[in-house]
Symmetry: C2
Subunit: 344 residues, 2 copies
């Protein structure tokens, strides 16, 4: 058997197909660190992806969502499905934010070859988190995992965006503690395909479920509509069959620490997957994700291209002029565009 060259794109891709975990870890590192191999790897792997069902799991710190992700992964393993996990949550034990107990809970996943966990460092990665997250999800998909779970904190804008590009988005809530009530965050309701009210053995669980139910009954703007408004490109969208297939987000109670309710939660995720396929929504969500990614990548590529044309002196003097309030940043940008781009 020839030796694996971890810095060869071809070697990595073929080892990935054989289920080689070292190759997988290294491929993700190349992608995350944007090395010279990142682009060839992404270009080669992208057509091989598209088989995994993508599950976003998001919720506030303190809702116990990492433990829930852990249990969901175990349940999938019992169903003989392989699971990739991407944690972009700075408070997650998967990404090093939490303390010993959580790490121990996580460790029992680590020996299973049907599970691969990757945490994304948010530090120093400002602004690029969404795209890096999407790339890592794609690599796990191409590597053949049946389900890919993305865990994010459901209070950050970028984090909610990442979760909402999944096929199925699970929003985790928990009953309030003491005088605090974990309010239902604006913007979170709209992206939820499934609600999990975790820590359901705590006081106040009925109230949390009731509030969620009330908010669902009030109705919320359609998720697709929001995605169109928020960050979409001007594109013609396929018309899914809205009328005959309507999905009402179920509200499920779970106690992740006791592994209660996990089976029903995984059932619901699988049901949602069937719904997406039958209604045509799966295709729509794939297009929404493609449009979101195109937009992000295009924006950054255009910026990098322009920056290459500018001298450090020119930029410095413009930054100084803005800092000293001699010119506003919008007019400064207009000045740059007029001087350095040719098309109107």
């Amino acid at each position: 058997m020839p030796e694996l060259d971890l810095n060869s794109s071809a070697d990595l891709v073929s080892a990935l197909a054989d289920g080689n975990r070292r190759a997988l870890a290294r491929t993700i590192s190349h992608v995350e660190n944007n090395t010279k191999l990142a682009q060839p790897l992404l270009t080669t792997l992208y057509p091989q992806a598209g088989h995994a069902h993508l599950v976003g799991i998001t919720g506030s710190p303190g809702t116990g969502k990492s433990t829930l992700v852990n249990q969901v992964a175990r349940e999938y393993r019992r169903r003989d499905l392989s699971v990739g996990i991407v944690a972009v949550d700075p408070t997650s034990p998967f990404s090093g934010g939490a303390l010993l107990g959580d790490r121990v809970r996580m460790r029992d996943l680590a020996g299973d070859p049907g599970i691969f966990i990757r945490s994304m460092a948010t530090r120093g990665n400002l602004g690029g988190l969404a795209q890096a997250g999407a790339d890592v999800v794609m690599v796990l998909d191409a590597a053949g995992f049946d389900r890919v779970i993305v865990e994010t904190v459901g209070v950050g804008q970028s984090e909610v965006e990442i979760a909402s590009t999944a096929h199925t988005t699970v929003v985790v809530e928990a009953p309030g503690f003491g005088d605090e009530v974990q309010a239902i965050k604006a913007g979170i309701l709209e992206i939820a395909d499934i609600f999990a009210v975790n820590k359901a053995d705590r006081e106040g669980v009925e109230r949390t479920v009731m509030v969620l139910q009330m908010m669902l009954n009030l109705g919320s703007p359609d998720r697709q509509q929001i995605m169109h408004h928020g960050r979409m490109l001007p594109v013609d969208w396929p018309e899914p069959d809205f009328d005959s297939h309507v999905w009402t987000p179920p509200i499920l109670e779970t106690i992740a620490t006791k592994n209660q309710g996990t089976e029903s939660l995984v059932d619901a995720i699988e049901e949602h997957q069937s719904y997406l396929k039958q209604s045509g929504h799966l295709e729509l969500r794939d297009r929404l994700r493609a449009a979101t990614e195109l937009r992000m990548i295009l924006r950054d590529a255009l910026l990098q291209r322009l920056l290459r044309q500018l001298s450090k002196e020119e930029l410095t003097s413009l930054v100084n002029a803005v800092a000293q309030r001699k010119i506003d940043p919008y007019s400064a940008v207009q000045k740059l565009l007029d001087a350095h781009t040719h098309s109107s």
Copy 2:
């Protein structure tokens, strides 16, 4: 007295200078909704800003930071300083996330002409939150407020970014509750100029203070260094006097609900302001903010400019090709750039 035309840029600007609150609210609306008046308003107001001290206050949901913001604002009023508040926190009572008790606490600020509160809706504003937040802060600054406070959730990437562009960033923590430990988030330590351990009458406060102290003693990458790496433009930076002036983030205990510790917190913010001025860091932070804003605005302007050149058909077929995995999004972007931009 001539009647105020709320849709005239000149009228708004002069009414703003007279302290007219209706004009202020309307100006902010124009900016937030990006109406036709937004650009002329921003261009006119920008040179008038630069006098306010900008304070970012960030922390997880449940740390009680909204109540703390409320108390800090009252303390500034006792010192005869006017305060503008921008809440970009979906869980904040200022932006409608929290329940009745909080709203009542907030209401007693509302009658004071020396205070102006504006909440930013995150919904539907995906991706543009950071820039919109910066614009609203600038308007409050130009309107003459002595201090402008930005309240954000310290777990989201965009939200942490917004808080970190302030002159002084206060990170709010709270003692852990039950089996949860509010872990110190990665990336949060580096942006803190001041720590407030709120709810200091709860059990575990000594532990929280101790953990923070330990992490500070371990040392952390310099904030400026992180900002350089994360999202900066290639610019020459002024060299502040690092050696003779070193700021060690103080760790203060507060009980916002009982208004304990607020005075010391405001003292610390004011001391930090003096430190920034004497050390040359104030100028550096203003340049960092200018560079951050230029970068954001430039990126979006370039995207919009290119999108105007593309037909809906061309974009649709490209999105479909990516969604169907016939091409990866990076290659698709390269194709667009090759076809539609002239410079290399």
